[in-house]
Amino acid sequence: MIEERFDAIVVGAGMAGNAAALTMANRGMKVLQLERGEYSGSKNVQGAILYADMLEKLIPDFRQDAPLERHLVEQRFWLMDDRSHVGLHYRSEDFNEERPNRYTIIRAQFDKWLSSKVREAGVTVLFETTATELARDSYGRVVGVHTDRLDGEIRADVVVLAEGVNGVLGTRAGLRERPKPDKVALAVKEMHFLPRETIEARFNIKGDEGVVIEAAGTISRGMTGMGFIYANKECVSLGIGCLVADFRRTAHTPYGLLDRFKQHPSVAPLIEGSEVKEYAAHLIPEGGYKAIPKLYGEGWVVVGDAAQLNNAIHREGSNLAMTSGRIAAEAICELKSRGLPMTAEHLALYKRLLDRSFVVKDLKKYRDMPTLLHTNSHNFFLTYPQLISRAMQNYVRVDGTPKAEKQKITVKSFVNARSRIGLFSDAVRFARAWR
């Protein structure tokens, strides 16, 4: 048993946990962090894209030594059917700036680096230690945690649950529900290694420039889901994810979906000849605003993926994790400096601060999107991508058909598939959920 008493215990060393631990230690708090992996990052999975702004708030000069892959100069959105893709690409020289806005990263390496900063700030980090249960007093207040490595409980004034999307402590203690199959996506990912020059030639980039491809359409076979391809320095991260409820309903296998995505004629040339060095899978919170659980209570707060904080529309998660971890830590430090106990009443400050941040504002903006996409997944992920692809082919193929007739054929294909009323209501519902 650890006799020492801590100001705070942070469960988990992912983005949220590292941000929380670092912030508290920087403000003089005595922090213990628990991580079940051999090192920070060994259990963490992400695409991954890093958003500089949120990291700058923690480590302003991170560019000096953080293991970054490529800064993004181009974003491609692909709407795919089985043989084609319709693309919307945005590339700008403006992204070749002194302090780039977005980078591709490799999580295991990045997290190791971030964790080194956490330890330098004075946090005691116990690796290879799985937190098994929250310790509570006779009033039900959280007073610490139990682990699988040390006898008895470790005590602290407050426990920061940064235990990830699938965290068990909070759910076992009844502080929040287990994620539901229609509120989480299962994503699978492979790391494809290629020579640097090959990646740069295939993605039309040079130096440390990077490209992101986000893809949707028939690749998810009617399920609510997306694929992604990220260019790193010497490898390409490639993956696809769909709602767990949809996988269950359709009985498609995740690896089958991944391999089909890799074989798509638009994708295969990008990774041809690559050497795969890892296969990973992870859950992603997709429920949005309506799935956010209670964020604080007597002696505890929950942050990051464990709090379902993920913006599925903009593919942002790690920055929400980092920000919620930092904000929770700031709230805790504020209470501590005012000599206030870590009660639910006082920890409500975390939620008030988070509500005012982009984290909750963004999720609120898209609160109706998860349900819309899920209940209409067949239309949005199969019917429309096919219609749009056919329309594009009809538009570009020169075969002697008069243009007016071509136009009629395209309009008719849309009306036949969805009816005029259906098209109108899809557009209205989508616009409403977006605004």
Binding site: E38, N166, V244, T253, L283
Partner: protein, 98 residues
């Protein structure tokens, strides 16, 4: 059209590093005669194909290749079909890239 005749998950898992906690599996399937719908769903959805039918038609789990995503927990823990926890500290999958 079937999705995955050619996909061998075992080949994918071969790339990964694991430290197997021999004799202490972190997932257990509740003893059953006939598998529930939830258990049968795991045969397809588990990305590491840890769940297999045995010769007598029951679902069995082998956690050695588990990538710790938690999908089976989301589906089959609520019904009591499986008992799920994380591996002991230091054990299980070790992502080099994540």
């Amino acid at each position: 059209m079937s999705t995955e005749p050619s996909v061998r998950v075992e080949d994918k898992l071969f790339y990964n590093r694991y430290l197997v906690d021999v004799g202490r599996p972190h997932i257990r399937v509740r003893a059953h005669k006939k598998p529930s719908r939830e258990l049968l769903a795991l045969l397809k959805i588990c990305p590491a194909r840890c769940y297999e039918l045995n010769d007598s038609g029951q679902v069995e789990v082998t956690v050695d290749g588990c990538v710790e995503c938690g999908t089976c927990r989301v589906i089959a823990e609520p019904t009591g079909d499986i008992e799920w926890s994380y591996p002991r500290g230091g054990y299980g999958v070790l992502f080099k890239f994540g």
